[in-house]
Every structure is written in structure tokens, then in C-alpha cells.
């Protein structure tokens, strides 16, 4: 056997394989990043410069922040932003309380029919949103809650899946802790907040982050339930900007708005990168 040749061939193959791998990974990274680059680039070009480029340029030598000023003054972007913030925070906060109590009841308390009720809850996980949204639209309309925050928030403050996730987590806490707390005369509520909640904090953080992402990107429900611009969220806000904003097709200003809308979640993601990715692989779906 010619060992030198075998060695050489193996090494060369390894190098080629590595090169192809990195090329493919970089190619996809480019495809992912390019739209982000393009939106930032376009948002920095002045209106006249952008429209005079028949062949789009990949850079700009005269960046301007005018588009960002326009985005906040010509259209009510700050309004959309504030609405989304209120909607996101309120929905997430209420949902956390609701699922916390429900998960606690399922995990810790014993009552007749518990298993049947829980099975029913699980069955609800299979129901697609599209099926119930029609009636919810009619319900909210009948209650006169269109164009209110209550109407926006109400249907999305429970999540069977998160109850399930939290319940599973609660059940991993050993029974002995509960018994010990009971012997010490701790009430259920106190046990929930002083013992279970701190132990399950990572899961709560994961759920919070996932819910915030979901709320920030919500489009269908806000679009159905609001037609008053004062209650638009960023998603239907940007759609409004696209169709009626800025008077003319002011793409650079539109891109400035897109950048502003995209930044909060990206920052949140970069800070909590590990938590977000772990959370999504445990319980996120999109696509």
C-alpha cells in the first residue's frame, strides 16, 4: 500500500469538503443578510438619490438621516410603535398570569375531572387559529370592542401550549418541596410565587420571549380588528404606510420605517440569543 498517497488524498479531500461547506454556509448567510443590508442602505439614501439610480448602487457616499425624520413625522410611526409596545406588554403580562395559575392547578392541585379537563385543553392545541378567528371577529365586533386595546388583546391572552409547557416544568419539582412547605404552613399561593416560580424562571423567560416575538409580529388579528389608524400596530401600520403613506412612493422613508420596526426584536434576540433559540426549538413554530 502506498501510504503517502492515501494520506495526501485524504487530506486534500478534507480541504475541498471544508471549502465547499464554508462556501455554502456563506452563500446562505449572504441571502439572509442581504435584505437587511439593503433596507439599511436604502434608508440612508436621500429620496432624490434613490430615485435617480436606475441601476441601484450597492453603497452610498452621502448617507442621510432625513428618512428617519420623515418616518416619524410624515406618518404616525411613533404611534404604531407605542401601540405595539402597549399591546405586546399587556398581552404578555396578562397571559403569564393566566397560564401560571392554570399550570399550577394542573400540576399541583387535585380535583375531580382534572385529567379530563387537561385532555380537553390538549385537544384545543390542534385547533388552527383560522377556524376560530371568524367568530372572534364577530364577537369582538358585537361587543363594540373594535378599535380598542381590549379587543386587540383579549383573544390572545391564553395559550394552551404554554400552559402545557409550564405544567410539565412544574411537575419536575419534587413533591417533597410541596410537602415541606405545607408542613411549614405555607399557603398554595405563597408556594407558587416563592418556590415554583423561581425554580421555573428559565421556562417563564422562554415563554415571555416567544410571546413578545409573536405579539410584535402579529398581523392578521390587528388588521381585522382595527381600521382606525390610532390603533394600528407596526405590522398593519407598515402595510398602511406602503399603501397610503408618504403621499408618493418614498421608498427610502419606507425603508427607514422598516428598520425602526425591525430593530427592537433583533436587539432582543442578540441579547437573549441562547434563550430564544432554545425556546424556539422547544416550542416555537413558524412556517
Amino acid at each position: 500500500m502506498d501510504y503517502d498517497r492515501i494520506e495526501q488524498r485524504a487530506r486534500r479531500r478534507e480541504t475541498i469538503r471544508k471549502a465547499i461547506t464554508y462556501f455554502l454556509l456563506s452563500l446562505w448567510a449572504l441571502i439572509v443578510l442581504f435584505p437587511f443590508y439593503w433596507m439599511i442602505l436604502s434608508s440612508l439614501k436621500s429620496y432624490s438619490a434613490y430615485n435617480s439610480e436606475y441601476i441601484p448602487k450597492f453603497y452610498t457616499l452621502t448617507p442621510t438621516l432625513q428618512n428617519y425624520r420623515d418616518a416619524f413625522t410624515a406618518v404616525p410611526l411613533s404611534r404604531y410603535f407605542l401601540n405595539t409596545l402597549i399591546f405586546t406588554l399587556a398581552t404578555t403580562a396578562i397571559m403569564l398570569v393566566v397560564i401560571l395559575f392554570a399550570a399550577f392547578a394542573f400540576a399541583r392541585l387535585d380535583f375531580p375531572g382534572k385529567n379530563a379537563v387537561f385532555a380537553l385543553f390538549l385537544a384545543l392545541m390542534m385547533i388552527p387559529n383560522e377556524l376560530v378567528i371568524i367568530t372572534n371577529f364577530v364577537t369582538i365586533t358585537n361587543w363594540g370592542l373594535r378599535n380598542t386595546f381590549t379587543g386587540l388583546i383579549l383573544p390572545s391572552v391564553t395559550s394552551v401550549f404554554y400552559i402545557y409547557l409550564l405544567k410539565e416544568n412544574f411537575e419536575q419539582i419534587p413533591d417533597e418541596l410541596y410537602k415541606a412547605a405545607k408542613v411549614d404552613g405555607t399557603s398554595d399561593l405563597k408556594y407558587l410565587f416563592k418556590v415554583m416560580l423561581p425554580i421555573c424562571q428559565p421556562t417563564m423567560v422562554t415563554i415571555t420571549i416567544l410571546k413578545i416575538i409573536e405579539c410584535w409580529n402579529a398581523y392578521v388579528w390587528p388588521r381585522l380588528i382595527t381600521d382606525d389608524e390610532a390603533y394600528f400596530l407596526v405590522s398593519n401600520g407598515i402595510q398602511e404606510i406602503r399603501e397610503n403613506g408618504f403621499g408618493r412612493e418614498n421608498i427610502p422613508a419606507m425603508m427607514a420605517a422598516v428598520v425602526v420596526i425591525s430593530v427592537p426584536l433583533i436587539v432582543l434576540f442578540l441579547i437573549f440569543r441562547k434563550k430564544v433559540m432554545a425556546g424556539v426549538s422547544r416550542g416555537g413554530t413558524k412556517g
Partner: protein, 366 residues
């Protein structure tokens, strides 16, 4: 096929501090004679698995050479070395049947080495027969016991007739009874096939019982190489002495003064040819002889009769551990009521070690 390791060294970058390296295998030199069974023995983290990975080619050494026979295989990819590897957790493909698992290595062969389907099946059957699992060929790994899975793993490693067979902790996932049975099985298979075999273990009893040679390692450095009995009877240093033997060796703080060995105040043995100094003294459990007027006086803590032998638990102020365990044969009687017991020591079972370097100090009994 003899295997030669020549100044083999493997360094890993340290995880804790940047730029630092951890030396997993440090300057290994030894030769595995053709057709022998070698046990690489050491506590966890001593670098024995790394050594195995270097031999099979899953890792590249930092320096040094590896020879199979006269071939230098140091930089050869694993598939060209002709090695078989058996894993601690068996690594059987869970979605394949036993037969498919054993066939797997054969189906990888290409070109002129490629066998016909019938030849492959015949070889697989032969390998299965060798490890006595012919009747299990159509089962999935999950439907078998740990011992059976281990046999399949061995058959899979043997089916392509490797030049060297490597076993990584082959018995540690088995329960005590199966372990005993399987280690004899491994010995038998190795004898039958005559394939040079290297296996890694942390269990000294396992290594001692089936190896032709054992290599005792600590922190990446070879401590001693030799036949199991030789290493046991003649340990090179305190670590080897402590690592081999159940129950373990009893260690005392002692000193040599004027050719006499003292444990505390007790003058236990004449030791010729040793300069006056403080030493570690190791005494094998079977090195104690109960004697009315024996020089070593210990406080008696308990006596455990274990059938043929009796285990005597005592304490002594100079002992390094809390209690001393000695094994004495049934002909000696111990008075359980007595508060103390006196022993004489068998010189061949007593070892002296340097206090700092812990290296063995030879002495002349007399």
C-alpha cells in the same frame, strides 16, 4: 500484527485558559507483541481513551509515530488502518438488525475488496458464530440484553478481520455477573482469532484477569508496563501499588533508621541497603501474619469471616487511611475479644516508596 507507539504525544488546547494546552498523552513508548491482549489501565481522565483514539486514527498525534508491524500509520485515516473498535455503549445502529449491523463494515468496501452478497453473508454468519449470537441475527439492538449487544458490537468489529482490535471500556455498561462472563468470552475470542487486541479500562481487576500485559497510566504518563502478576508483585511506584489489588494496599507513614523500618514506634522489619529517611510503606492485605509477639501492634476494630479467608480490620496511628484491612487464612485465629492484635509482616509483600517522588525503594530483606 505488532503495534509500536514511538514517543507518542497528544496535546489539547485547554478549555479554561487560552493558549494553554493539556497533555492527554505524554511521550508514550511501548510495543504490543503480535497476537497479545493488552490492557490500558488507569483512573478516568488519565488519557487512556485518547491513546486508543490515536491508535485507531480518530485523532492525530501532536508528535510521535505509530507503527502497525513495519507500516507507519501515524497519519493514515482510520479506514485504511484495518482496525476494529468496540465502544463502551456498543454504538450499534438502532434502526438496523443484528445482521445488517454486522454486514455494515463489509458493505463499505469498494473496488476489488468488494465481496459478493453471499460472501458477505457467510462472513457475517462466521463472525456471529464466533461470538455465539447466530440465533439473534434478525433482532434489533433494542430487543437484546446489554451482554448480547456487546457481542454484536464485537462481531461487527471482527467481521472485516481487522489487524488490530480495540475495545473501549467494553464491560463497564454490564452488570457484575455478565461482566465476569463477558470478559472470559473476550479472552476466548481473542485466543481463537489471534488478533492483537488493546483494551481500555479503569477496572484493575478486569485488566489483571485477562491481559497478557497491562499498561498502567496516570495523567497521560505511563507508570509501568508488565505482566499483571509482575506489576502487582513489583510496583514501580506508590500510584501503581495503590491502583492495583482488592482490597487495596495499606499505606503507612514510616521511616528507615539504621537498617530498620519503623511504623510509628513499632520496629517491623529489617531493611538492608536503604539510607535513613522518611518513607511511604505499602503492605498488601495478604502480607500480615498474626503472631503473639509480632512487631506491629494494631487496635482491633472488627473481624469479617469471608468463607475461606478472614478479613481483619484494625487501626494503627501511622496508617495513612482510617483503617487497615488485612486478609489472613483460616488457620490463624483472632481473639475477637482482645483489644489489640499483633502482626508480623511478609517482606515480599512490603514495599518502600520515596516520601517525595513516591518512587519505589528496593531493599534487602533480612
Amino acid at each position: 500484527m505488532k503495534v509500536v507507539l514511538d514517543h507518542l504525544t497528544k496535546e489539547f488546547p485547554s478549555r479554561s485558559r487560552k493558549g494553554d494546552t493539556v497533555v492527554a498523552v505524554n511521550d508514550f513508548c511501548f510495543e504490543v507483541p503480535d497476537g497479545s491482549l493488552i490492557g490500558l489501565l488507569g483512573p478516568s481522565g488519565c488519557g487512556k481513551s485518547t491513546a486508543l483514539n490515536l491508535i485507531c486514527g480518530l485523532e492525530k498525534p501532536t508528535s510521535g509515530r505509530i507503527f502497525f508491524g513495519d507500516d507507519d500509520v501515524t497519519n493514515l485515516p482510520p479506514e485504511n488502518r484495518g482496525v476494529g473498535l468496540v465502544f463502551q455503549n456498543y454504538a450499534l445502529y438502532p434502526h438496523l438488525t443484528v445482521r445488517q449491523n454486522i454486514l455494515f463494515p463489509l458493505q463499505n468496501l469498494k473496488g476489488k475488496d468488494r465481496l459478493t452478497k453471499a460472501e458477505m453473508l457467510k462472513k457475517a454468519d462466521e463472525a456471529a458464530k464466533l461470538v455465539q449470537i447466530e440465533q439473534l441475527m434478525d433482532r434489533k439492538p433494542s430487543e437484546m440484553s446489554g451482554g448480547q449487544q456487546q457481542r454484536v458490537a464485537i462481531a461487527r468489529a471482527l467481521v472485516k478481520l481487522p489487524r488490530v482490535l480495540l475495545l473501549d471500556e467494553p464491560l463497564s455498561n454490564l452488570d457484575a455477573r455478565l461482566r465476569l462472563q463477558t470478559r472470559e468470552e473476550i479472552r476466548r475470542i481473542q485466543r481463537d482469532t489471534g488478533i492483537t487486541t488493546i483494551f481500555v479500562t479503569h477496572d484493575q481487576e478486569e485488566a489483571m484477569s485477562i491481559s497478557d500485559l497491562i499498561v498502567v497510566m496516570k495523567s497521560g504518563v505511563i507508570q509501568q508496563i508488565g505482566k499483571p502478576q509482575t506489576v502487582y508483585d513489583d510496583p514501580a511506584n506508590l500510584f501503581v501499588a495503590k491502583f492495583l489489588g482488592t482490597p487495596p494496599i495499606n499505606v503507612f507513614e514510616g521511616r528507615v533508621a539504621g537498617g530498620k523500618l519503623l511504623l510509628g514506634e513499632d520496629e517491623v522489619l529489617r531493611v538492608g541497603g536503604v539510607a535513613d529517611q522518611a518513607v511511604w510503606v505499602g503492605v498488601r492485605p495478604e502480607g500480615f501474619i498474626p503472631q503473639e509477639a509480632g512487631p506491629l501492634c494494631c487496635r482491633l476494630e472488627g473481624v469479617e469471616v469471608m468463607g475461606r479467608d478472614t478479613s481483619v480490620v484494625t487501626t494503627h496511628p501511622a496508617a495513612e487511611s482510617v483503617s487497615i484491612r488485612s486478609i489472613i487464612t483460616a488457620e490463624h485465629r483472632i481473639n475477637r475479644e482482645a483489644g489489640t492484635v499483633r502482626f508480623a509482616l511478609k517482606p515480599a509483600k512490603v514495599f518502600l516508596f520515596h516520601r517525595e517522588s513516591e518512587e519505589r525503594i528496593p531493599f534487602e530483606a533480612g
